[in-house]
Amino acid sequence: MPEMRALSVSEALGLARKALEGVRLVVVGEVSEVSDKPSYKAVYFSLADEGAVMPCLMWRDAYSESGVSLRCGSLVEAEGVFTVYAAKGRMQFQVRRLALAGEGVLRMQVAALARRLQAEGLTSSDRKRRLPAFPTRIGLVTSPRGKAVHDVIRTLGRRYPVAELLIAGVLVEGDGAAEAIVKGLRVVTEAGADVVILGRGGGSYEDLMPFNSEAVARAVASCPIPVVTGIGHEPDTTIADMVSDLTASTPTAAAEAATPASADLMRRLEHISTRLARGLAYRVQALEHRVALLSGRPLFCDARRILGAWEQTLDGLSGSLERALPRRLDVASDRLRSADERLVSVGGRLVSAAGASVALLEARLGDLSPLGILRRGYSVCYAEDGETVIRSAGQVSLAEIVRVRLADGALGCRVETKEEEAAR
């Protein structure tokens, strides 16, 4: 047996390390004993199966990049090398890449479902509905636990507290989650929401599986109100995202997409307020301007503007009248002349006949005159004053002077006797 040179401990472990690190391995195992402290440079955990356990470490930057959240009991696929931690003389598996085991299978199933829904047209952009600009009731289907629900409540309260928030707090991962989400969508719709936010915080691919289920996909696609999804962090895209009306990267982003911002609305109202006041002022100014224009019109300054046209018409008529009249007058005067001649010829006869009639009438008129009566032999007796007519014997006394009027003169007489007759 050849004599071997003795090595120091460090040299021995250095050799072992060199031998181990040359071999790159992919190991599948169940996670146990996770130690994930932010102050550590690496995450420490163990992978195990029924008969063996191996200590693992993963540098923090690589761990963050993997997107995997290590939990006891999950099955993971780790790619890396064995190495030796000389200070403790311990062998450990240094993980370079980490993925949840079985995820590949899940991804294949999800991709197949996506293709099926796509073929049915459920992911078509034509199906995407516009969200209400001013929602009255916003439905929120998410876990009642954790940060996501509070992020949404805060965002909605800040942006648009006008809308009522209807929350269906449901299980979002694990067994029964898909059914719970479907029920949540139905409940908020029935409660009168006009838009619904379906959300959850980021998680592993496996955690997001309910959002990749056919039941949830069909419930979202057939939801009577628009659905905004805010599921996990990018680049996770679930089937629920594909069939929803709008996809946001997080629940908070979904809340922002579903609402107008109150501050913007206030500014908009300010703008409208200005336009409203100015609109009326312009209206009044425009009317004032029109009145001013009208009152300045010649019409109101010169009455002839109104009457001028009539005056002209009148002038025109008058002209035609003048032109028409002479002709009419000629005709008339001709007729007049012949009438005149005829009058003259009959006139003489008429006049002499008339003269005879007049003498007769005069004679008859004379009969009616008091003078005519006196001429026929009657007389009138007046009192001494010559005015009062004596109609009764009682009017005079004996020896009184009376005047008697005859046709051609008057007599002064004294009453000598009186013979009164009974009044009739």
Partner: protein
């Protein structure tokens, strides 16, 4: 669940805002008789007041239809 709209005057916020913008456009078009303009203006001012009040006084109303809301730091399930 109540069927009452959240706007104080029973008018939905979006409907009220749309009506208000229509009124402004009508006033600006300047085709309305003055009496109508005044009536529209009054309606506009009324809507504006209601909308401002709604925005200014709105308190967020939350109804839990399913589940119990837990405080924020209770659990990390569903966290971002």
């Amino acid at each position: 669940m109540t069927e009452q709209a959240p706007c104080s005057d029973q008018l939905r916020f979006g409907d009220a805002l749309a009506e208000l913008e229509r009124i402004v456009a009508e006033l600006e078009s300047g085709t309305m008789p003055l009496e109508d303009s005044l009536a529209r203006y009054e309606r506009g001012v009324e809507l504006l007041k209601a909308l401002r009040e709604t925005l200014g006084q709105a308190q967020q109303r939350i109804t839990m239809l399913l589940g119990e809301l837990e405080t924020e730091d209770a659990d990390d399930t569903g966290a971002e």
